[in-house]
């Protein structure tokens, strides 16, 4: 199981700020995103958007890295930041 967190407008689309996602073994980010969206097309599109950044265990992942998600990970999906 992984803990998935949604921020900003992704939270509105997912209709929750976080949810547990059960799975075994290791998953590629693509496979993990499909599992998280589980048939919700709007959420699937938002998670795959180029502007959506991913953090694993509170570390932002560079886009060039092929991420692998493991059970126990905390995975955050983040739309473009708007601070200041």
């Amino acid at each position: 199981m992984a803990r998935v967190m949604f921020f900003g407008r992704l939270r509105d689309i997912a209709q929750c700020s976080e949810r547990p996602v059960p799975f075994d073994g290791a998953l590629s980010l693509d496979a993990f995103r499909r599992l998280v969206a589980s048939g919700d097309d709007d959420l699937a599109r938002a998670l795959q958007a180029e502007s959506t950044r991913v953090a694993v265990n509170a570390t932002i992942a560079p886009r060039s890295v092929d991420l692998v998600i493991h059970p126990g990970d905390e995975v955050a999906f983040m739309p473009p930041f708007s601070g200041g």
């Binding site: 921020f7 509170a58 886009r63 060039s64 739309p79 601070g83 200041g84």
Partner: protein, 163 residues
């Protein structure tokens, strides 16, 4: 990102309540009495139609990310001190959202460091802003000019990690 030193961690405060930017600047100035230059920027909730601004963040990541910006600014500019206060939660027009203050021997380093840190805070720290106007709730996306402004400070070799 490697862990920033403790001095950079201490320069950063994330607050849930209203703060007094003028009082904070005065305290910062008193703490850097030998600095020749103190530059600061205070960002406030705009008035007009907006009734409130709500700011959320990724708490486990925010402080460390901003401390990394402070570390970067100290390496780039000749600074004697940095203070960053960033508010989160729901706030009213006129209230301060963010304060960045830098102390240095001469003005150019202090001014440029404030500019650089604000650009980073706008687009590279895990904050999300939402405007509330009547019944409407609208997430604010960074403007293209904010993104371009932040890119000015990038080391080309680390471009990928930031984009």
């Amino acid at each position: 990102m490697s862990e920033p030193p403790a001095t950079d961690e201490r320069a950063v405060r994330i607050v849930c309540e209203a703060f007094d930017p003028e009082g904070e600047i005065a305290a910062f100035r008193a703490a850097h009495a030998h600095a020749g230059a103190i530059a600061s920027f205070t960002g406030c909730v705009r008035g007009g139609e907006t009734e409130a601004l709500a700011l959320e963040h990724y708490a486990d990541l925010t402080h460390r990310t901003i401390a990394g910006f402070v570390h970067e600014a100290r390496a780039r500019f000749d600074l004697m001190g940095v203070c960053i206060i960033h508010r989160v939660g729901r706030m009213a027009p006129g209230e301060a959202i963010v304060l960045v203050a830098c102390a240095s021997a001469h003005r150019k380093d202090a001014l440029a460091a404030v500019d650089c840190l604000m650009d980073r805070l706008k687009t590279d720290a895990p904050f999300w802003k939402r405007e509330e106007t009547g019944e409407e709730r609208r997430w604010i996306e960074p403007r293209a000019e904010d993104v371009a402004a932040a890119r000015r400070w990038n080391d080309p070799a680390s471009e990928d990690g930031r984009s």
